[in-house]
Assembly symmetry: none
Homo-oligomer: 201 residues x 4
Amino acid sequence: MTTEEKCSRGRPRCAKTHHAILQVTLALIAEQGYADLRIDEVAKRAGVGKQTIYRWWNNKAELCIEALLEDFHPTRLPDNPQGNTLRDDLLELASAISCRLNTPAARNMLVGVISASRVEDGSLASFRLQFLDTRREAIREIFSRHENNVHLRSGFDLELAVDLLHGPMWYRLLMDHGPLDEAFVRALVEGVLRLAVEEER
Amino acid sequence: MTTEEKCSRGRPRCAKTHHAILQVTLALIAEQGYADLRIDEVAKRAGVGKQTIYRWWNNKAELCIEALLEDFHPTRLPDNPQGNTLRDDLLELASAISCRLNTPAARNMLVGVISASRVEDGSLASFRLQFLDTRREAIREIFSRHENNVHLRSGFDLELAVDLLHGPMWYRLLMDHGPLDEAFVRALVEGVLRLAVEEER
Amino acid sequence: MTTEEKCSRGRPRCAKTHHAILQVTLALIAEQGYADLRIDEVAKRAGVGKQTIYRWWNNKAELCIEALLEDFHPTRLPDNPQGNTLRDDLLELASAISCRLNTPAARNMLVGVISASRVEDGSLASFRLQFLDTRREAIREIFSRHENNVHLRSGFDLELAVDLLHGPMWYRLLMDHGPLDEAFVRALVEGVLRLAVEEER
Amino acid sequence: MTTEEKCSRGRPRCAKTHHAILQVTLALIAEQGYADLRIDEVAKRAGVGKQTIYRWWNNKAELCIEALLEDFHPTRLPDNPQGNTLRDDLLELASAISCRLNTPAARNMLVGVISASRVEDGSLASFRLQFLDTRREAIREIFSRHENNVHLRSGFDLELAVDLLHGPMWYRLLMDHGPLDEAFVRALVEGVLRLAVEEER
DNA sequence: TGTTAACCGAGACGGTACGTCGAGTCTTGGC
DNA sequence: GCCAAGACTCGACGTACCGTCTCGGTTAACA
């Protein structure tokens, strides 16, 4: 999606159509996976011409990435947790994330979109930035809220915390070799805490 | 690929050809990713007819999975580390793995194959099993070698260790938002240790 | 194009625009043929919105037919010849027609419009009628002007004369297998005369 | 269609398929005209993949021209007439041609294919050559068979005869303003004869 | 030493989705 | 109400790749 700086001559873009396309895209990915997503089917289900899709997204990957971003949009994430301890907040955040991921739809979407776009591809970059930034910010805020209560280990960086929390969840999601349940989430948070804080009692 | 003992009349299959196909497949995935791999191109580069490929693999996914498995085969992994401490061994293992992953080729291959096959798809299952089992076994062996020196935290399970070690590495690989360097690996190992052992000094 | 006397509320239609559209249409057909004519291009070249075109012509064929009729309009044909003999007049008429046809533009236009509309299609009918009637009338007038000088063969009909004169010219035009020159025209007239008059010396 | 000088490696071209495509093409043009011919429909009706059509013909026009040529192939024309007089032979030939043309199918086909191809286009050239040559040859042979019986007018050329005979028939066919009946054909032959022979009694 | 059947490269095939293109319609804001 | 701009639906286009098939030709074990 390019920044809309067109002069307002001509028929304006139909917002309802735009949103419908993204919704249908999400639904279809969830139903049958990224690889089996057909642009024709998106168009038909959204009651839209194929051209209208290609007018705004250059290809399947771009369409799906924007659909994903809409679905994982910050406004649709839970509010920042307001617990009493760092541990409580991290647990709440991690639980929310794991719930969000723990569906076949999410697995299909994430793995498909990620894999469809090369590392060098700019279309993935925007996804990465927005997706990661949101989560990194959430964690950063939690840590800063509790910075007076805990003593952060020197040399600990936030990026690492993000990876430690998300990485194992994604790994289970992709490899599908173990449950993404409460116990697992709790263990992850425990790991992050032990790495992050000097002594958090 | 099943090994069927055909009656040995007629010309036997050419083993060199079989290997060449896998090599070319690997090379092409590394070059341009799984999604852009063309069977025709594999055939041409291997100097082989398309039929010869389909004689032994039912489709693109199967071919790629076998190619990947050949590349990540245990025999091509480093020998089990023989360090003095649990930390040393984990570090050596993690370093080896990260080196193995830290190329665009590996990223393309893993993400492509993973995403190409749905969760329910059996063709991925074998890859997952073999891939995971190998690594899980390596970690299990390391822990058991040192079980007398350290006191494992109760309730700690190995699957979790696998996820904690691999998950973040994969996550960085896929999202490409930070380096997969020695410092990162070291931090990961530290995290696993703190989670695994009661007090390991 | 119907001439309806709209109630004169609002801005009256721009006659210059109407004419410009037809001119551009003619020019584009001449340049690149009927099949490659694009309505968008007509609109752009005429500095006009597409809707303005469709307001007055229902589709591409109608637009082109009206453009053609304007170009081949009787008022743009030469005056009726006023020679001394039937032969002279026929020659002059035939020469005029052949000159009119003998350009790539004319070929593109005629063949395109003809072929675009099925036999049953009414939009062609008007073109045919007007186009043919004009020419048939010209020939009829020539014959009647000289009816006292020559002795028309019994059973000779005018339609046949039209076909004999125009048919071969069109045929050469379409098949492009021989020149549409003076000698050819002369031969045609000779043929018509021999078929039409008993003894015309 | 290119001359088949490929070395005979690989699966040979399926002749039945090739023929079926041409037949279906002819049928569809006859049914609904050239402009409404859909390649997809040809493929479906012929039980053939679209690619197979495009492998052998570059576009709709080429396909139709070859289909036409097959339909109007000399081997499918009547044998050369063997009458007693030049007039009889010409009449028989002209009748045969008019019968061949005098169907909506033929009209659709000819007008569509002719108009679709520009004058400069090579694909039409081959059609013209083969189509015209066949007919010119037929007329030439008739005249030469009777050259001892009649006295050809000096300066009369065969190309003119072809145009005089075919031109009016095509003109009626295209403009659809009069019947293509026996009387018309007879009049045409009469015209040709009067132009061609000095005194043919 | 010849038979013979599986192997092999080449490439045509049916099928399915792609991304593009143009016709004709609809919807703005400006005149 | 007319107009330019341009987004919209629809449907065909010509291309690309998949996985299958069918040729002629090759090759090694068996007879």
